[in-house]
C-alpha cells in the first residue's frame, strides 16, 4: 500500500503537571518518591506533536501515524486510556522504567532501533515527531540523537507550524530567542521535528478513534519489549527539591494608592 507520509511520534510519560515531586534514592540512581503512584500523562509537548501528526495524516489520506513510547508497561496501558481517544495511531511500546533521570542517549538508541524495525518504513516519506524537550528530563536532546541514528540530518526544534507539500517539501517555523520564530524551507524528507505547542487546540475525545486504537494498543502492549537502560557513566552527586522559602512580608490594610506608590518606586525608572 502506498502511504503518502509516515509519521512516527516519539512520546514519553511524565508526572501530571500539578503533582508535588520529591527525589528518592532508587537501586540504580535517583527516582521520584512514590513514582509508581504518581498520576502520569503523556508528555505535553509530545502530545502536541501527536495532534499535529494526526492533523497532517488527515490532510494526506493514506498516511500512517505510529506512537513510539518507552515507559513502564502498566503505566503506558493506563495513559493509553486517555490518549487513545485523541488521535488515531499504532502504538509501539518499549517496556522500561524511564523518567527524568534516565539517559537520553540510551533511550534514543532504543527508540531509533524500534523505528528501524517498523515494517514498511520508507525514509523518503518519513517524519519523526516529538516534543522539543520533555517535562521530565527536559534536555531537548533525545529526538536529535534518534534522528542521527536513523541518518536524518534535517532537524527542527521548537516547531510551531509545519506546512507540508504533497511531494515532501515543506516550510517550518521554529521558536528562537525573544519570542520570535525562524522560518526555513526544506526540499524533502526525511526530517525530525521537535514540537513546541504548535497551533492546534487539543482534539476532543473521540470514542470511535479510541475503540479503533485499542484493538491494536493492547496487542502492542502485550508485545512490548522489555528494555534496560544502563545510564552508563552517569552519576548524580546530589538531587534535591529546592525549597526556596522567602520571608514574605504580608501587607494588609494598605490603601491601593499607597500600594501603587510602593510598587512604582520598586519598579524604578523606565528602561
Amino acid at each position: 500500500m502506498d502511504t503518502p507520509f509516515q509519521i512516527v511520534v516519539c512520546a514519553g510519560l511524565v508526572p501530571d503537571p500539578l503533582q508535588t515531586l520529591e527525589p528518592a534514592a532508587g537501586p540504580a540512581g535517583p527516582v521520584l518518591k512514590n513514582e509508581m503512584m504518581l498520576p502520569l500523562v503523556i508528555d505535553p509537548w509530545a502530545a502536541h506533536a501527536l495532534f499535529e501528526a494526526a492533523a497532517l495524516a488527515k490532510r494526506f489520506p493514506g498516511s500512517k501515524v505510529w506512537l513510539v513510547s518507552l515507559a513502564p508497561r502498566a503505566k503506558l496501558q493506563q495513559v493509553m486510556m486517555t490518549v487513545a481517544q485523541k488521535a488515531a495511531f499504532e502504538l509501539v511500546a518499549l517496556d522500561s522504567p524511564a523518567g527524568g533521570f534516565t539517559e537520553s542517549a540510551e533511550i534514543a538508541a532504543e527508540i531509533a532501533a524500534a523505528i528501524e524495525r517498523l515494517p514498511g518504513i520508507d525514509k523518503s516519506r518519513l517524519l519523526v515527531f516529538g516534543g522539543w524537550e520533555s517535562a521530565s528530563r527536559g534536555t531537548g536532546t533525545t529526538l536529535q540523537t534518534v534522528g542521527e541514528r536513523l541518518g536524518i540530518f534535517e532537524q527542527f526544534q521548537g516547531v510551531d507550524r509545519l506546512d507540508m507539500a504533497p511531494d515532501g517539501a515543506f516550510q517550518v517555523i521554529e521558536r528562537i530567542e525573544g519570542g520570535r520564530h525562524q522560518a526555513s524551507a526544506c526540499s524533502g524528507l526525511p526530517a525530525v521535528f521537535g514540537w513546541a505547542t504548535g497551533e492546534l487546540p487539543e482534539p476532543p475525545n473521540n470514542p470511535q478513534i479510541g475503540m479503533a486504537n485499542m484493538r491494536t494498543v493492547m496487542p502492542a502492549l502485550n508485545r512490548a519489549r522489555p528494555v534496560k537502560i544502563a545510564n552508563e557513566g552517569l552519576s548524580f552527586a546530589r538531587v534535591t527539591a529546592p525549597n526556596q522559602r522567602r520571608d514574605t512580608k504580608i501587607i494588609k490594610d494598605m490603601a491601593p494608592g499607597q500600594i501603587a506608590r510602593e510598587i512604582v518606586d520598586w519598579i524604578g525608572p523606565e528602561q
Binding site: P39, Q85, P204, P207
Partner: protein, 604 residues
C-alpha cells in the same frame, strides 16, 4: 464534526468505581472459554483518569478477596491488613459545639467525673471494645484510587473490555421503557452548553445491556429514577459528605500501619471521624457530615480542620503534611434508597443502587459484591443467548442479590439511622440498638428532603446570635467575599485555625495542593441552578457554604455563580439546596449533570 455519531457494543458501563470493577473482573473471568465469544464491553468514566473519581479506605474486602483469590492485596501501593481498631467518643475541648443539654450534662457528669475509671485520654473516651458492626478485622486498609488503577490494568488486558476515562455520560438512551444504550456529553461548548469552535455532539453508544454504576449522584442513575420512579416507600434523603485527606504523618507519630480509628461526638455530635494508617507513615483521615446535621451554614472543610485539631487526633497529626484531599457524597439511605435494580436493557449496581451500608460505615466491598452478582447473572444470560429483559435480569441478578450478604446486612442498616432524624442521642441509640440486635429492633424515623427540613440561619442560631447580627454578617460576606460560615463559626465560639501551609491550610490551598483540581475547557457547566428566581430569594444559600470546593459563590444580580475549575464533583450541592425546584416538591433547585474535570489524585 457536527453530526452525532453512533456505534454499537454488547455491554456499556457507566462509571468505573468498585461496583463496575467487580462487574468487569467477574465478567472477564466467566466469559473466557465459553461457547460464545465474550461480549465486547466498554466502560465510560467521568473523571480525568482511573482512580481520580473514587474514594474509600478500609474494607473487610470479602467480595474483593473472593474475586482475586491468592492475590495479596497488600501488593497494591498503600494497602495493608487491618491490625488495630478503636472507637473514641470525643469531648468538646472548645465549648462551641451544639451539643444538646442532655449531651453536655452527660459529658460533664458521667464522662469527666468518672474519667479516672474510664479509658479517658486527651479529651476523648476510647470505647473498650469495638462494636461488632463496626469491626473491620480481617479487612484491608487501602486506597481505592490505587486499587482501581490496578483493577483497570487487570480487566483490560484481553482487549475485550475497554475503559475510557475523561468521558462523561450525559444520559441513558431510551426506546419506550427500554434502555438501549447511553449518550456521551457534548464537547466543544461554552459554559451554557452552546456549541462553539470544535463542537462535537456526544456520541450515542448502543448496547444490549447498560450497566449503571455511576455512584450516588450519578446523572444516568438519577435520570432513570426520574423516569421510572423509586420503588414504593423508598426515598433518597439520607446523605452524608465524606471529606478526606491523605496525610504524611509526622516522624514522632507512633501509629502502626493497619491502625483504624473511628470517632464521634466532635466537632459536632453528628460528625463521625475516621483515621486509617497505611504503610510508610501515611494516613487517610476525615469526617462524615450527615444530612441530619442541619446547620444551614456549614462547611465540611472547616469542621474537618477542627476535628484534626482535637487533642486526641492532633497528638498524632501535628507536624504532618497534606498529600491529597477530596470529598464525596455518600448515599446513606442505603437499602431504603434502592432504586429499581433492573429494567429492559439496564441494571444498577453500586452505591447508586443503594448498596452502601451506613451502619458498618462501608460501601466499597458492598459495591464490588453487587457488581460481581450482576456479572454472574449476565454471564449466564450471555452464554444462553437470552436477552437482557427486566424479567431475565431480575432472575439472574436481583434474586442473587436478595440472597446475598449485601441484602441481609443492608436490611439491618436500613433500620439503624432512623433515630438520627430525631436527634443525636436517639440516633446513637438507634444505631446501637439496630446494630447490636441484628436489625430486629429499631428506632423509626422518616427523613424529609432538605428543602423541607433545613432551618434558616436565624432559626438555627436562635438564642446564640441575634438575627440583626446575622443580617450584618450576610452583608459583610457579600461585600468582602468572606464566606458566611466563617463569621458564624467565629461568633459561635470556634477558634481560628492556625494555618501552617503544610497540613492546616486554606480551603483553596487544599484544592490545589491536595486535590490538584482542574477542569478542561470546552464543556458546559455541570452544576446548574434551575430557577434563578428561587436563588435570588433564598436567604440561606447553604450551597455556597456547603460546597466542598468553594466552587459556588454569590454571583451578579442576586444570582449564584459556579466555577467549574474548583468543582470536585462531590455532589453535596445536590442534596443541600434549601429551595424546591419549580413544579417539583421532591427535588431541590440544583441539578448536577455529568461533567469533566475534578480531582487529579489517585491516592484517595
Amino acid at each position: 464534526m457536527n453530526t452525532r455519531l453512533s456505534t454499537e457494543v454488547d455491554i456499556v458501563c457507566v462509571g468505573f468505581g468498585p461496583a463496575t470493577g467487580g462487574f468487569l473482573a467477574e465478567l472477564a473471568r466467566r466469559c473466557t472459554g465459553g461457547s460464545r465469544p465474550p461480549p465486547f464491553v466498554i466502560c465510560y468514566e467521568r473523571s480525568d483518569d482511573i482512580g481520580f473519581g473514587v474514594s474509600g479506605v478500609v474494607t473487610p474486602a470479602r467480595a474483593i478477596k473472593a474475586s482475586f483469590p491468592g492475590f495479596d492485596l497488600a501488593e497494591i501501593p498503600m494497602a495493608t491488613p487491618v491490625r488495630h481498631e478503636h472507637v473514641a467518643y470525643l469531648l468538646d475541648p472548645v465549648g462551641a459545639s451544639r451539643r444538646s443539654w442532655a449531651v453536655r450534662a452527660a459529658d460533664a457528669t458521667i464522662v469527666r467525673a468518672m474519667r479516672w475509671a474510664l479509658p479517658f485520654q486527651t479529651e476523648a473516651l476510647q470505647l473498650p471494645w469495638t462494636p461488632s458492626f463496626l469491626r473491620k478485622e480481617g479487612g484491608v486498609v487501602l486506597s481505592i484510587g490505587q486499587f482501581m488503577q490496578w483493577v483497570a490494568g487487570q480487566v483490560t488486558g484481553s482487549g475485550q473490555i475497554q475503559i475510557w476515562p475523561s468521558m462523561p455520560v450525559a444520559s441513558p438512551l431510551l426506546d419506550g421503557d427500554s434502555v438501549v444504550g447511553v449518550r456521551l456529553i457534548d464537547q466543544g461548548t461554552d459554559r451554557q452548553g452552546n456549541p462553539v469552535e470544535g463542537f462535537t455532539p456526544g456520541m450515542d453508544i448502543k448496547a444490549q445491556l447498560t450497566v449503571v454504576g455511576d455512584g450516588p449522584i450519578g446523572t444516568v442513575g438519577r435520570q432513570l429514577d426520574e423516569r421510572f420512579g423509586l420503588p414504593e416507600g423508598h426515598n433518597r434523603d439520607d446523605w452524608a459528605v465524606g471529606m478526606k485527606m491523605v496525610v504524611e504523618l509526622p516522624s514522632h507519630c507512633g501509629l502502626e500501619a493497619g491502625t483504624v480509628l473511628h470517632t464521634f461526638g466532635y466537632p459536632e455530635p453528628e460528625i463521625f471521624g475516621f483515621l486509617y494508617v497505611h504503610p510508610g507513615g501515611i494516613a487517610s483521615l476525615g469526617i462524615f457530615v450527615p444530612s441530619t446535621f442541619d446547620n444551614p451554614a456549614r462547611t465540611a472543610y472547616r469542621y474537618l480542620q477542627h476535628w484534626m485539631r482535637h487533642p486526641y487526633l492532633w497528638r498524632h497529626l501535628e507536624g504532618g503534611r497534606l498529600r491529597s484531599w477530596g470529598a464525596k457524597s455518600l448515599l446513606e439511605s442505603g437499602r431504603r434508597g434502592e432504586p429499581h435494580l433492573v429494567g429492559d436493557g439496564f441494571a444498577r449496581i453500586g452505591e447508586g443502587s443503594g448498596s452502601t451500608n451506613m451502619l458498618t460505615g462501608s460501601g466499597v466491598d458492598e459495591a464490588w459484591a453487587t457488581g460481581v452478582l450482576l456479572a454472574e447473572g449476565v454471564a449466564e444470560l450471555w452464554e444462553a443467548n437470552r436477552p437482557f429483559t427486566r424479567a431475565n435480569l431480575h432472575e439472574a441478578y436481583v434474586q442473587r442479590r436478595r440472597a446475598s450478604w449485601v441484602e441481609t446486612e443492608g436490611r439491618i442498616a436500613e433500620k439503624a439511622r432512623g433515630g438520627f432524624q430525631k436527634g443525636f442521642i436517639r440516633g446513637l441509640i438507634g444505631m446501637g440498638v439496630a446494630g447490636l440486635s441484628g436489625g430486629r429492633l429499631s428506632v423509626r424515623g422518616r427523613p424529609a428532603p432538605p428543602h423541607r427540613r433545613l432551618p434558616t440561619i436565624e432559626e438555627y442560631y436562635r438564642g446564640r446570635i441575634p438575627s440583626s447580627e446575622i443580617d450584618r454578617m450576610r452583608e459583610e460576606s457579600l461585600t468582602n467575599g468572606i464566606p458566611l460560615h466563617e463569621s458564624l463559626m467565629k461568633r459561635a465560639g470556634w477558634p481560628a485555625i492556625p494555618l501552617d501551609g503544610k497540613l492546616l491550610m486554606s480551603h483553596q490551598d487544599a484544592l490545589l495542593v491536595g486535590g490538584k483540581v482542574q477542569a478542561p475547557s470546552g464543556y458546559a457547566d455541570h452544576v446548574v441552578f434551575i430557577d434563578s428566581a428561587a436563588c435570588e430569594k433564598c436567604g440561606t444559600r447553604i450551597c455556597i457554604d456547603a460546597c466542598s470546593g468553594q466552587a459556588i459563590a454569590a454571583g451578579p444580580d442576586g444570582k449564584v455563580a459556579f466555577d467549574r475549575e474548583k468543582c470536585i464533583h462531590c455532589g453535596v450541592c445536590l442534596w443541600n439546596c434549601s429551595q424546591a425546584r419549580p413544579g417539583d416538591s421532591e427535588r431541590g433547585n440544583i441539578e448536577v449533570k455529568a461533567g469533566a474535570g475534578g480531582l487529579h489524585s489517585a491516592e484517595n
